[in-house]
């Protein structure tokens, strides 16, 4: 059924359709609307057989999900930013214990400086925790990916993060097609756990593993992620067959086949990128785009096949490894090792900085001309940076950088673009 609704409400509706048994979460912007909606539904008795557990922190939220999943319950939680970092230890444990929990990440920057707006720093900080990470391009895809996520997680016995851009998707009010309960039930069978804590049949999980076996256990976790490279597209294909639309999978090309320049990006920014691609195509420029849906496991072979025909690749990313450069770029370069393709990085949208068509057009034009630098910070205010560097040179006790920059640029949220 077509509905006009907020992204968070669409995700809550998808979770409800997946018949979870335990939901535990701690509210944090911009994830809050999702868990509020689910809390209301559980309280109203609309999710029979589901318990909503209030917890005192994100660490507890994921720990409860771990406990619930270990008893064979379909468990769900959601978080953002500092919340994800606060649960970090449990994030690794959930993957190491092979528990198929599904967690939404309403992607948000990490402090300090405190910033509630969108970028990908939070889920990137957990990229090596052993979870599958899928990125939604639209609210429709966010909805669909959550239904697919339980299938993927339970088939592999591996937790899945569905990453959606905070505010840009979580708070966007747009059209979604909400599937019926019958279709979701047919697509997502009852959870058959690989391991169950059951007093009638006692066992221990969470064994201590010494040097004699740790490598093998870790290697098997790697193998499981590699198997996900087959499961993710298979689940997406089955989803498309049943629901009549394409969501998820490893990656999607946009006017990519004959492109000389390809833009690689994760999440909602792909929509704006596609607008710019159309604009440049109309001007005769051979540019295209690749939207990466699966970031973990990283689809090396599929990405290489998609990018190899191009001469230049621009990795547009909403995260930064300070002192190193682009995070997604490292994976792209690894996938492209030995290929005759020039890979450049554009860091954009940090802490919610708007990524406009005009700014993208400028860097893409440069990329197509072969003059884009290896690492570019989109719309960086060089004057502000220079002034701050000068100030640091002039005095020892400079105080915090954040406050000094803020005094030059105005209060948070005061700009339109």
């Amino acid at each position: 059924m077509l509905k006009q609704m907020e992204g968070s409400q669409a995700v809550a509706a998808a979770i409800a359709l997946a018949r979870p048994q335990v939901i535990c979460a701690y509210p944090i912007t911009p994830q809050t609307h999702i868990v509020e909606a689910l809390g209301r539904q559980v309280k109203a008795g609309e999710l029979p057989g589901c318990e909503f557990i209030n917890v005192e922190s994100e660490f507890a939220a994921l720990s409860v999900a771990i406990g619930a999943s270990a008893t064979g319950a379909r468990a769900y939680t959601a978080t953002s930013s500092q919340g994800l970092l606060f649960m970090a230890e449990a994030v690794f444990n959930a993957a190491g214990l092979e528990l198929p929990i599904v967690m939404t990440i309403g992607n948000r920057a990490i402090g300090a400086p405190i910033n509630i707006w969108n970028d990908h720093s939070d889920s990137m900080a957990m990229r090596d925790a052993g979870w599958i990470q899928l990125f939604a391009e639209t609210n429709q895809e966010a909805l669909d990916l959550h239904i697919q996520a339980f299938r993927i997680a339970e088939e592999l016995s591996c937790p899945v993060m569905v990453c959606m851009d905070g505010f840009i998707l979580t708070h966007a009010f747009e059209r979604v097609d909400l599937p019926t309960q019958e279709d979701v039930d047919a697509f997502l069978p009852r959870f058959e756990p690989r391991q169950v804590l059951d007093p009638a049949d006692p066992m221990t999980i969470g064994a201590m593993v010494g040097p004699e076996a740790y490598t093998e256990v870790r290697y098997l976790a790697h193998r499981r992620q590699l198997r996900a490279l087959e499961v993710i597209p298979a689940v997406a294909a089955e989803f498309a067959e049943r629901f009549g639309r394409h969501s998820g999978g490893l990656l999607r090309g946009y006017r990519a086949e004959d492109a000389e320049t390809l833009v690689v990006a994760l999440g909602s920014i792909n929509g704006t990128v596609q607008e710019v691609v159309d604009e440049m195509r109309a001007a005769g420029v051979a540019i295209g785009a690749v939207s990466l849906c699966a970031f973990r496991p990283f689809p090396q072979a599929a990405l290489r096949a998609a990018l190899e025909p191009a001469r230049r690749v621009v990795v547009l990313e909403k995260c930064l490894a300070a002192g190193a450069g682009g995070i997604v770029t490292d994976d792209v370069r690894r996938a492209m090792a030995g290929a005759r393709v020039m890979v450049t990085t554009v860091i954009a949208g940090l802490g919610g900085r708007a990524i406009t068509r005009a700014s993208l057009r400028r860097v893409f034009d440069k990329a197509c001309a072969g003059t884009l630098e290896r690492l570019t910070f989109l719309d960086l205010d060089a004057a502000v940076v220079e002034q701050e560097l000068e100030r640091e040179k002039a005095t020892r006790r400079t105080g915090p950088t954040a406050g000094a920059v803020l005094r030059r640029t105005g209060t948070p949220g005061s700009h339109i673009g």
């Binding site: 907020e6 505010f167 840009i168 966007a172 009010f173 607008e275 339109i416």
Partner: protein
């Protein structure tokens, strides 16, 4: 694509105004996208929301930089925020005020834009009268429908009904209808 930017203050319904407008367009089978300017959600702080309406799927995620229409929920923002930034030359402006555009000091703007596309509507007064609270957003949507003809009044009414419980919806529908009538009449005068 038709792009709208709504300016107001936290608590005035800036976000729900954009969402209801998107809902109205959706009710007409069109594609619509509404989103807030993210963040400063403090009561009374300047806030913005955006709405795009199109006949095809909307992929663009940038803020509305060049609006086709502006809805200004609070005229005290006129001297605090660059409200008209990026406004297209044939754009629409709907201001919540019981004062005339000249009294608001917008004579210059009137000369720069198409005068029949600029309107002040006393949405707060209409809301006080019909809703009993100074919440102008539903009334402004009625005025917006009359001014721009981008959505029908019936669709705005459907969006209001989808948003609020029956009793509250009825009072907001009355406010929206009154604003529609006020602006439509003024518009007819301009064309006469």
């Amino acid at each position: 694509m038709f792009q709208v930017r709504i300016h107001g203050r936290g608590g005035q319904g800036v976000v729900s105004g954009a969402e209801m407008l998107a809902h109205a367009a959706f009710a007409e089978g069109r594609f619509a996208q509404a989103f807030p300017s993210f963040g400063s959600e403090r009561m009374g702080a300047p806030v913005m929301s955006f709405c795009r309406i199109d006949d095809r799927e909307i992929r663009l995620r940038e803020p509305v930089m060049a609006p086709d229409a502006l809805i200004i929920q609070d005229p005290t923002l006129l001297h605090q925020v660059d409200l008209f930034q990026g406004l297209t030359a044939d754009g629409y402006v709907l201001i919540n005020s019981s004062r005339s555009l000249d009294e608001l000091g917008l004579g210059e703007l009137v000369r720069r834009l198409r005068p029949e596309r600029l309107r002040a509507v006393p949405a707060t007064e209409l809301a006080r009268e019909h809703v009993g609270r100074p919440l102008p957003n539903a009334a402004l949507l009625g005025g917006f429908a009359a001014l721009t003809r981008q959505v029908q009044l019936d669709s705005v009414i459907a969006a209001i009904r989808a948003r609020f419980p029956e009793k509250v919806a009825a009072t907001n529908v009355a406010a929206a209808s009154a604003a529609f009538a006020a602006v439509a009449t003024a518009e007819e005068r301009a064309y006469a």
